[in-house]
Amino acid sequence: MAEQAIAIPEAKVQRRWRLPHDWRSQTAIFITLCTGALFMLLPFWWMFATSLSRKADISMPRTPQLWPPDPGIFNYWIATNNLPIVRLYFNSLVVVGGTTIGYLFFCSLAGYAFAKGRFPGKSFLFIVFLATLFIPFETRMIPLYLFMGQLHLTNTYWALILPFLAGGFGTFLMRQTISSIPDELLEAARIDGASEFRIFVQIILPLCRPTLATLAIINVIWRWNDVLWPLLVTSDSNMFTVTQGLALEGHSQGTYTGVALATAVLAILPVVVAYLFLQRYVIRSVVSSGVKG
């Protein structure tokens, strides 16, 4: 990339409304990237357009159409009648909210102790926390499901929330962040007579806000999109999450294309809208933590 070496004269040329010397390669790259973006968006648009068509439930046109001949919300009406969609949104909200608040709280607690505390067994316990990173969820899912049955928690919010309240990843991330907070700050608070918990709530947590936001975003994506665990522990359709309801409905509505796609649009809409508003933070969170949703 040779042009980086001569970036300054180039900018001057641009300001005088003359074409930069590499306009050909810039245009070619831009067009290629836009074509790629079009391929990314096309399936979404086609899904949305088809979900508006009542005819799509009977027969689809052999040539894909980017706008239906009969736009309407019929399929959405059917989709919301088939599934207790409001209830599913509420369930997802409870599960995502509960796990996120709990995960942030418990991971910060442990992260604070591992970053600033001094107690026998600290290194050993930290290794225990980190070891959980090497245990994939899939390894323990069936025993965990049986365990939930023994506790009589299947088909409750507890079953969907409790297993995800603490984890090695969040603890590690919080420990790294809290380690960078200067000790003098905490020492000053201690001299003023603040208890460790008060220091944690009033000093540590506010200073960790960016990391907490990162963890929250990642956890929301994880939990909103998870389908494996809800499939195991809930069988009552009143306890389904949105994604789970979509997965099951997508199966049974396979022949009603319009209805199935309308359900899919309803399920992804909140996440997509939130993403469009928060895209900068979402992308930064994913890059800084190296974990995708």
Binding site: L41, F134, P163, A166
Partner: protein, 315 residues
């Protein structure tokens, strides 16, 4: 450091002792609640998986089975099919997506206008649940009127592929279709991570190459790609583990059996089917143990390779 080191003046040895002791206890108050959650909901079920794989449930109790369930598992053709599918899909995915993401990230790094909206668009499928993506692609790949075949028909192709309905090993069969799906859905994440790697390459390397008369393509090949090595290792490591754990999209498209003809059954789907549907908990636990060991092997190898290099750089 803090906590146990009283900063205010102390009156005597005993109060200092008490203070130090109390300073220690407080930290257990912080660690124990999350530790309890981890032990109960991560440690205990994992131990249970290992235990269950060694025992057979019989009415009124259970008996030690030794390696019986593992032998049963390794003689199970369906298990090997699932392993084969998982590995094949994972390798195909990584082989396609990493070069593709590198090319797109390099272009995004060079383009002067509009890189932010482009990034947002490429990243969009990553935010969409894999279930919704699978439902969408179920129709995109529909042989008669799907978006893809409709497009191919416009191009004048008459012998249209069956995609998800074709269980054969072919470039237009079900496995190819779900690989296209995964690449489409994952590309944004791989681009963003590669872009972060690209932006951390020191620019003076490029300046030096330009002075030596290297063409942009040459400096891309000899500077950019070698500098991206840690990024590639990271992506291959996390990508392999994700590919091994692949479940939701394949389950949505093919059910627990991975139809058609088990061509889409992954190892986690096999585990789910054996444990949840056939209630064969011992076989499912044995699969879980094998799965755990494979993931551990990959993580260990990648960690070792990665960290060794990092440490060498530190020295």
């Amino acid at each position: 450091m803090p906590g146990s080191a009283p900063s205010s003046a102390d009156s005597g040895i005993f109060s200092g002792f008490r203070r130090a002791f109390r300073g220690t206890l407080v930290w257990y108050g912080f660690v124990l609640p999350p530790l309890f959650l981890i032990l109960v909901f991560i440690g205990y079920p994992t131990a249970l998986a290992f235990e269950q794989s060694l025992f057979t449930e019989i009415p009124g109790g259970r008996e030690f089975a030794g390696t019986y369930h593992f032998e049963r598992l390794f003689q199970n053709q369906v298990f090997w099919g699932a392993i084969g599918n998982t590995v094949l899909l994972g390798v195909a995915f990584l082989v396609i997506i990493i070069p593709l993401a590198t090319i797109f990230a390099s272009m995004l790094n060079r383009v002067r206008r509009g890189s932010t909206p482009l990034k947002v668009i490429y990243f969009l499928p990553q935010l969409t649940s894999s279930v919704a993506v699978a439902i969408m692609f179920n129709y995109v790949f529909q042989p008669d009127w799907g978006l893809l075949n409709g497009f191919l028909r416009q191009l004048g192709i008459t012998n249209l592929p069956l995609w998800l309905a074709d269980p054969r090993y072919s470039l237009t069969g079900s496995r190819a279709a779900v690989t296209i799906l995964a690449v489409w859905a994952g590309l944004g994440y791989y681009i963003i991570v590669t872009l972060a790697g690209l932006q951390s390459v020191p620019t003076d390397l490029y300046d030096a190459a330009a002075i030596d008369g290297a063409s942009p393509l040459q400096s891309w090949w000899y500077i950019t790609l070698p500098s991206l090595r840690p990024t590639f290792i990271f992506l291959i490591m996390t990508g392999s583990i994700d590919a091994l754990a692949r479940f939701s999209d394949l389950w949505t498209l093919g059910g627990p059996g991975g139809s058609p003809a088990r061509s889409l059954q992954s190892i986690v789907m096999f585990m789910y089917q054996q444990g949840f549907e056939s209630q064969d908990f011992s076989l499912s636990a044995a699969t879980a143990v094998v799965f755990f060991l494979i993931v551990l092997l990959i993580t260990g190898a990648a960690f070792w390779g990665f960290l060794r290099r990092e440490f060498r750089a530190l020295r």
